[in-house]
Symmetry: C2
Subunit: 221 residues, 2 copies
């Protein structure tokens, strides 16, 4: 699928049937939404039925990576399948609860990315290592350099799937409620409640050597 | 599928191929995980390929409800499909980032529920109204009673899907990192960074009548 410099090419399945004004294909926006999260929901088809599992992911340029045990279902399926495993990978941020005066116009402010494509197992050892570093650094930027890298046994036990960013769309809702004009006089509070994930104080493992301080990349979260 | 009083019956597809100790079927636990969130990721199959979309949901007893425009794809598909639309509905809470000394043992503390089943369009008007109230109250408990209920036109424009809680599993990870014994002397910080969603101060709509105060069910969030 061809892409321009700055945007993904819309396709039949990345153009929504409704709320088209909320859809976006801008590459920088898609990257920002992806880079601001680390858990995706990965969908695949098993025996004709859909399966959706939460999993970590990482991004390296125009490629996403997910990983798992070589024994896990989607990773086995992608390894067996030729030419790969059709997947849908979705990332969602909730930014606010939108309370309108009417129940009907209640909504959520959100930013999401949906990636359609075919996932392939990564076999190149260098790409696998890059992908695993990206997965760790997606959760905690800077962490991969401050942990023991995977050894040969661990690499062999870990399967990595690659999904190209090609058929991609973002969807967003921002702003306040959109009540109907005839509801503006109703006596209900209306507005937006902001929502965001927050990090608590890091809790050291019970066996942490006490002289090891909390690293700067954690206090920066 | 038969269920006991207190637990869902495991099935071939709700028993994971790995990390079986993290799987749970307790009904109260499943309900608690479902009731603590309001966005799910709904998977279905379209033209043989998986689609995963974020959407709101509500729970009434052993039934989940999702809604959307009567023009949206999954809702049209469920209306057309006989005997319904096979779906997988997944809800995930992230509770912590687990930083081990080895990259390999990095993990996430989480609680998730995966529901497999066939979704059906709700046609009974009373059930539809109950479902829509549940959807609003799932996001903000108490809100449906403090907003204008849907009128006939709005009800007609809204499709509601029902999914029975029948083939259901929870999956959880809790606790600290599980480093290998030979890594315990490595000089890397190790522990857990708690994560939770937080609500900001409610932002009134620009056209809110100033005498209407922030309701108690919002300050209680």
């Amino acid at each position: 699928m061809s892409v321009t410099e700055t945007a993904y090419q819309p396709t039949e399945r990345t153009v929504p049937t409704r709320s088209r004004d909320r859809a976006a294909y801008d590459r920088e926006l898609v990257h920002a939404i992806l880079d601001g999260a680390y858990v995706c929901h990965l969908g695949f088809v098993r025996d004709g039925a859909p399966v959706v599992l939460p999993t970590l992911y990482g991004r390296v340029g125009e490629r996403l990576y997910v990983h798992g045990s070589t024994g896990s279902r989607p990773l086995r399926m992608a390894g067996q399948a030729d030419p790969g495993l059709p997947v849908c990978l979705t990332v969602t941020h909730v930014d606010g609860l939108v309370l309108a005066r009417s129940a009907f116009h209640h909504s959520i402010n959100y930013r999401s990315v949906v990636v359609h494509g075919v996932a392939h197992q990564v076999t190149d050892p260098a790409e696998k290592r890059t992908a695993l570093d990206a997965l760790v650094d997606h959760v905690v930027p800077g962490r991969s350099a401050d942990s023991r890298p995977a050894n040969a046994k661990e690499l062999a036990a870990t399967a990595v799937l690659r999904l190209d960013l090609d058929e991609v769309s973002a969807k967003l809702r921002t702003g306040g409620p959109n009540d109907d004009p005839e509801d503006l006089g109703l006596p209900h509070w209306t507005g937006v409640v902001p929502v965001r994930p927050t990090y608590g104080t890091p809790v050291p493992a019970s066996d942490l050597e006490p002289s090891i301080p909390v690293p700067g990349y954690l206090t920066a979260l």
